[in-house]
Amino acid sequence: MSDLESFRAETRAWLEANCPPEMREPVRDEDDACWGGRNFKFKNPAQKQWLDTMAAKGWTVPDWPKAFGGGGLTAEETKALRSEMAKLGCRTPLMSFGIWMLGPALLKFGTEEQKLHYLPQIARGEIRWCQGYSEPGSGSDLVSLQTFGEDKGDHWNVNGQKIWTSYANHADWIFCLVRTDKTNKYQGISFLLFDMTTPGVTTKPILLISGNSPFCETFFDNVKVPKHQIVGELNRGWDVAKYLLGHEREMISAGGNGDGMASIGAAFPDSAATEPVLRAQMAMFDVETIVFRAHSERFMDEWKSGRAHPAYSNLMKYVGTELNKTRHELVMAAGGSDALEWESRRSKGGARPRSWLRTKANSIEGGTSEVMLNVVSKRILDMPGG
């Protein structure tokens, strides 16, 4: 038995012994997951136990170095762990923008001191982070952002407004793009970290068309940010942000789970049987589903081995999000008038239409489809001009 095979066998045994049954049930929605943080209310003791047990092994972030709270696993071991967790239906112990976004940025751009300070807090789910990028006037054109940090010697005095800050109302800290030089568009932005309880920070949840409020408007009124709370160099925050956007797209594009891949027709046999034209649309969509799974697998294989074009994740983000929107359009059609119900218990409070509406943001958040196509065209196809 190879080392990897023994690791896999040991891992399976450990998971079977340590993952509580409640944590092997599918996560119903974002509110049902474990997000950690100072004020997080665990849904049940099993959720806390699972987080703590995994964090103790460093397996909330299995491929981070052990020194920073990680598991120190190789890429193959990490993949094996994930696949064993998937087989047993184990939930991800911790959902976290710290893990997904800030962590990779710190690992690449942070000082040793920053890594030792922030990463273990993230790995243990102690601090919940949110991201402060977009502003009302700066969506796709992110680099035009206006939130300004005035240099006050030992700190910046930050004023401005962010929008689409995910769960800012629940977050403990924010990583935030702040203009620190008004004379230089690209090289005048810094990547700052600060506590959301700092005086002058206020948040206001945004009610979405799905009826949920996962995002906030966030306001900064003379917020003091100490000088050491910067990631990377002064005025070079755009480099960090670009790196993270690429990372984010890679993550989104790798995100197709088995569940989202099921045949729609198989899920709605009555509609498939009685509606031949709808069935045909679902059939053609099922092809795309299988294709996207293969495409994601190929992309990850190429990415990990350094074969993928650096901008390729933009393509995957475009294809994957458009596909998911189409999937939900078809699910709504297959669901018929059942899928219109918005509040009833039968419909689980309108779970289906709310999920459908939620998918409409897929092709906007993290870079719109239009921006993705621009990037693919310019960087991969080397098309000319503006």
């Binding site: 700066s138 689409w164 068309i209 059609a333 018929g336 008038s337 918005w342 039968r346 239409p353």
Partner: protein
């Protein structure tokens, strides 16, 4: 007849459009929704509809109505769509009126005056499953005494909980899948044995699932003839499908206009985003799709008004196309609005929700394409 509005029809539009944009714009829908109104629409507005004569557009002059046609009904529906006005107009003053016109004098004498006066709401109990398949009607109506006993379930009964009468398709003969053997009944709201499970839908309309547990009705509740309900049901469906199509032309046009306005205002990358050619082309394509929808709807309205045998085919094409175009309009609308399009604060998401419900009502684009083939 030329495929544009006549002078009289333009006058009607010039009455309807400002009336609705003044009295029932999108914020009217919002206020009903936000105060959790349980009717799902404003009864006061419905009374105003009656006062302005809208509820009598399709009722014959001999019955006190205006005796107009589907172009005129469509004018009202398009403005309802454009303003997302919650209203029982489509079910009551369009679909039900057409079914009753194919019914007997007694039913007309009972219901036309109430509809004219804005004193009656009629709901349609047709669908039995999640998808619209009227020929598959399985609900049973067995003879009992002087009348019938109805047993079975219906769903997607819009306004059912506040309706004064339900038009119910049930089977007195034949078997599920056959057109013959269906009978259409006018069931009053106080019939015993009828229970309703009411929910708000995605577009904030209220809809009922209705269970009929041996509901007894008299023989004079039959609309048209026993076993031959497919006739009045077809009238109901033709009018309902075409009316929903006209409403979707309004929804889609409203969404498109709002989006094009936004493209002319929103700035990114140092210019108005409407200057980006890919958005220009998508907007122009969308315009073409909406114009196609508008064209087939008015053509089908003319054919239905002329009692042309091609009307049914063209109505199927109209529902299929209006559904497809309106869906494109709301999808492009949300995407082109970007992040703010996802917020409840902006109206474009409400257009998307209404589109979904209307696409489903009376059969979706796939169902109707199947009919055309």
């Amino acid at each position: 007849m030329a495929l544009y509005l006549s002078d009289d029809q333009v006058m009607l539009k010039d009455t309807v459009a400002p009336f609705l944009s003044d009295n029932a714009p999108v914020k009217h829908l919002r206020s009903l929704r936000d105060c959790k109104d349980q009717a799902g629409f404003s009864k006061g507005l419905w009374k105003q509809f009656a006062e302005l004569g809208f509820t009598g557009i399709l009722i014959p002059e001999t019955n006190g109505g205006l005796g107009l046609g589907h172009v005129e009904a469509g004018i009202v529906l398009e403005e309802i769509g454009r303003n997302l006005t919650p209203s029982p107009f489509l079910t009551t003053a369009v679909a039900a009126v057409e079914a009753l016109k194919a019914g007997g004098n007694a039913l007309q004498a009972e219901w036309f005056p109430k509809i004219l006066a804005g004193d009656a709401i009629v709901a349609l109990a047709i669908d039995e499953g999640a998808k619209h398949r009227p020929a598959a009607t399985a609900m049973v109506a067995e003879r009992s005494g002087n009348g019938f006993r109805l047993s079975g379930k219906k769903q997607f009964v819009l306004h059912g909980h506040v309706a004064d009468m339900l038009l119910v398709a049930a089977r007195t003969g034949g078997s599920a899948g056959e057109e013959s053997g269906i009978t259409l009944f006018a069931v009053p709201k106080d019939a015993t044995g009828m229970t309703m499970d009411v929910d708000r839908l995605v577009d904030s309309a209220m809809s009922a699932r209705v269970t009929f547990d041996g509901v007894q009705v008299d023989a004079d509740a039959v609309v048209g003839e026993v076993d031959a309900g497919w006739g009045p049901l077809t009238k109901l469906l033709d009018a309902g499908r075409l009316g929903a199509s006209a409403e979707m032309v309004g929804v889609g046009s409203g969404a498109m206009d709002m989006t094009i306005d936004y493209l002319k205002q929103r700035r990114q990358f140092g210019k108005v985003i409407g200057e980006f050619q890919s958005l220009q082309h998508r907007a122009a394509h969308l315009y073409g799709e909406m114009e196609g929808a508008r064209s087939i709807v008015i053509k089908a309205q003319h054919l239905l008004d002329d009692d042309d045998p091609r009307a049914e085919l063209f109505i199927a094409a109209a529902k299929a196309k209006a559904g497809k175009s309106c869906n494109l309009a709301v999808r492009e609308g949300v995407q082109m609005h970007g992040g703010i399009g996802m917020t409840d604060e902006y109206d474009i998401g409400l257009f998307m929700k209404r589109d979904r419900a209307l696409n489903e009502f009376f059969g979706d684009s796939y169902f109707h394409a199947d009919q055309v083939a």
